[in-house]
């Protein structure tokens, strides 16, 4: 009860809600729980979907488990066990939901529904209520095959998170990374939570720095199959792989849009960053400065590019405005700053700093150079930060347990934990946007 009072005394603001008769269409602009950074989690009661019949009950159980573990992963929710008397037998009518019971356990929101079988398909109907007003804020039906229970649950979770935060969720996103588990460094891809891992390359040499295009259609990476580092672009639908047929070396690609990927090429002598089309053809050069220019990462609108340059001696992060052609230095703290990653919200850049004692730590900084924040410390090498689709989490590599492994944390550095349990070393993770 005390918790409940705190929540409603102004920690967050529930924006005006238009209650439409019948179907309520979810829309993040209409209803967003605005929270201060670091404030409490969203208190949610999630009821297992009602089901009649043995098969449907099994589905309901699996949907409940997948939804709970998915919502728990986001770190956004405090999942409160459903009170015994929360809903009527069908659980799908607002008249039968006991909002008094929900309020008494401190729930801000209630989600429940029912699962039925229609033409052999799984049909999940979900409703979400604001417990204070007792009004529905989401009513939606999700249909899929029995083999898709996880993605059906995640489709609901995605809608819920986007409705309550106004940001894209992790559900439906992928993480690509490098692992040496086969004896060679190859590219792998898995779901946001490490589930469903598959090997994407079999170079039997070296494959490094994978990154998915914003639409998830293409995977760009650097590989040594030809004997020297080259940019490869893999069409994930067709399976066709293209290489950039230029002399010299290619290092560390980053997508500007679905139509252009930037990478460092040295065929003109000095290392410069170029834009390349998915078919491997060269669009244009974007840097022109003696020394190392490396690791492009773009603002969401594609107009600005963060990158690493040794133009002032030791490696630092710079920002190039592609419209004006002007470059400004972003980082002044530390003498070895690399691996910039521009947040999908556009406001921050994450990067890694090598300290004098050999530790590598992850920092975030606003794109104007303000609000420098250290996210890791005292845990050996922490590197290769990459943002979640909503910008509220970061996946990274850490050697804190010895071998390099993948970790996740929230955008302020909290909740640091292993992403997947896998033998060998894992490194260079890159988080995709949410793929439709």
């Amino acid at each position: 009860m005390r918790y409940c009072k705190e929540i409603f005394s102004g920690v967050f603001l529930v924006m005006a809600l238009l209650l439409l008769p019948g179907q309520v269409q979810a829309n993040g602009d209409d209803y967003i729980a605005i929270r201060k950074e670091g404030s409490g989690k969203i208190a949610l009661v999630l009821s297992k979907p009602a089901a009649s019949g043995g098969k449907e009950s099994g589905w309901a159980e699996r949907l409940d488990v997948e939804s709970r573990s998915g919502l728990d992963f986001t770190g956004l929710f405090s999942l409160i066990p459903p009170p015994l008397n929360v809903a009527g037998p069908r659980g799908s009518s607002s008249q039968s939901i006991n909002f008094g019971a929900l309020n008494s356990v401190g729930a801000e929101f209630y989600a429940g529904g029912a699962v039925v079988q229609k033409s052999g398909n799984v049909v999940l109907s979900m409703e979400v209520y604001d417990t204070l007003g007792g009004r529905p804020i989401l009513r939606k039906t999700y249909t899929g095959k029995e083999s898709d229970l996880r993605s059906i649950a995640h489709a609901f979770c995605a809608d819920l998170v986007e409705l309550l935060t106004g940001r894209p969720s992790v559900f439906g996103s992928k993480v690509v990374f490098v692992s040496n588990r086969s004896g060679f460094k190859e590219i792998y891809m898995c779901d946001y939570d490490g589930h469903g891992m598959r090997q994407m390359t079999n170079t039997r040499s070296l494959a490094l720095t994978p990154v998915l295009s914003p639409d998830g259609q293409h995977l760009a990476y650097t590989d040594y199959a030809s004997g020297r580092p080259r940019l490869s672009i893999l069409d994930l639908a067709g399976g066709k792989r293209r290489s950039v047929a230029r002399s010299g070396n290619s290092i560390d690609p980053g997508w500007r849009s679905n139509a252009e990927v930037a990478t460092t090429l040295s065929f003109q002598g000095d290392q410069e960053i170029y834009l390349v089309r998915p078919d491997g053809s060269l669009a244009r050069r974007v840097t022109n400065s003696r020394g190392i220019d490396l690791s492009p990462s773009f603002s969401p609108d594609g107009n600005k590019m963060a990158f690493v340059s040794s133009r002032t001696s030791a490696p630092q992060i710079f920002i190039l405005d592609l419209q004006t052609g002007q470059t400004k230095r972003l980082t002044y703290n530390g003498s070895y700053n690399t691996q910039p990653s521009w947040s999908p919200q556009g406001d921050k850049i994450a990067y890694s700093t090598m300290e004098k004692n050999g530790e590598i730590n992850i920092f975030t900084i606003n794109t104007d150079g303000s609000s420098l924040r250290q996210l890791t410390s005292g845990s050996r090498q922490n590197e290769s930060p990459s943002w979640s689709p909503g910008g509220d989490m970061i996946v990274f590599t850490s050697s804190r347990q010895g071998q390099k492994k993948l970790f996740v944390m929230n955008a302020a550095g909290g909740g640091q934990r292993r992403l997947l349990q896998l033998e060998g070393e894992q490194m260079q993770p890159s988080w995709s946007l949410r793929l439709k």
Partner: protein, 167 residues
């Protein structure tokens, strides 16, 4: 001092003798594996040793080494490159691949870029000495293929190198 003498000798031979003498400046032994000398080395050694040669480089072209986060050539490195240039001059049909390598410190992507500059600077120096650019190719492994396995300066110093491979 010995290295400097060797370097000067190599340069002198390149300039004056048109690099016709192979055995005087560089080993004739091109075996893949290192053979330790049975006796104390003579004044002109026939098995590669010294600055550019170790268990990871047995010749005929010697490797060159770098400081941390640097691709600048030291005096020893320049001496070795002069010897390498002389050998290339005496073996006009030879072609070499120069691999840039880094120690494990720092970040992988940057180290590939740094390794490429190390290999590139070594090549550029030899080209200035008259070796045809077409006979030297460069690439970089960064920190991906270290020679020495350790995690201290004695290993790191061996791993910061431009490594010559005959093609």
């Amino acid at each position: 001092m010995k290295h400097t003498m060797k370097g000067l000798l190599a340069l002198l031979l390149m300039i004056t003798a048109g690099c016709s003498s192979k055995s005087a400046v560089a080993p004739t032994d091109t075996a893949d594996t290192y053979t330790p000398p049975a006796a104390p080395p003579a004044a002109v050694v026939s098995t590669p040793s010294g600055y550019g040669f170790d268990e990871y480089q047995t010749g005929p072209l010697g490797d060159v080494f770098y400081e941390f986060d640097s691709s600048e050539l030291s005096a020893d490195a320049e001496d070795q490159l002069k010897q390498n240039a002389a050998w290339m001059g005496a073996n006009a049909a030879a072609a070499t691949l120069v691999e840039g390598h880094c120690d494990e410190r720092g970040t992988s992507e940057y180290n590939i870029a740094l390794g490429e500059r190390r290999a590139g600077n070594a090549k550029e120096y030899m080209v200035r000495l008259g070796v045809p650019a077409a006979s030297i190719e460069t690439m970089s492994y960064g920190e991906e293929k270290p020679f020495a396995p350790g995690h201290d300066e004695s290993a790191w110093s061996k791993n910061r190198r431009a490594h010559f491979v005959l093609k």
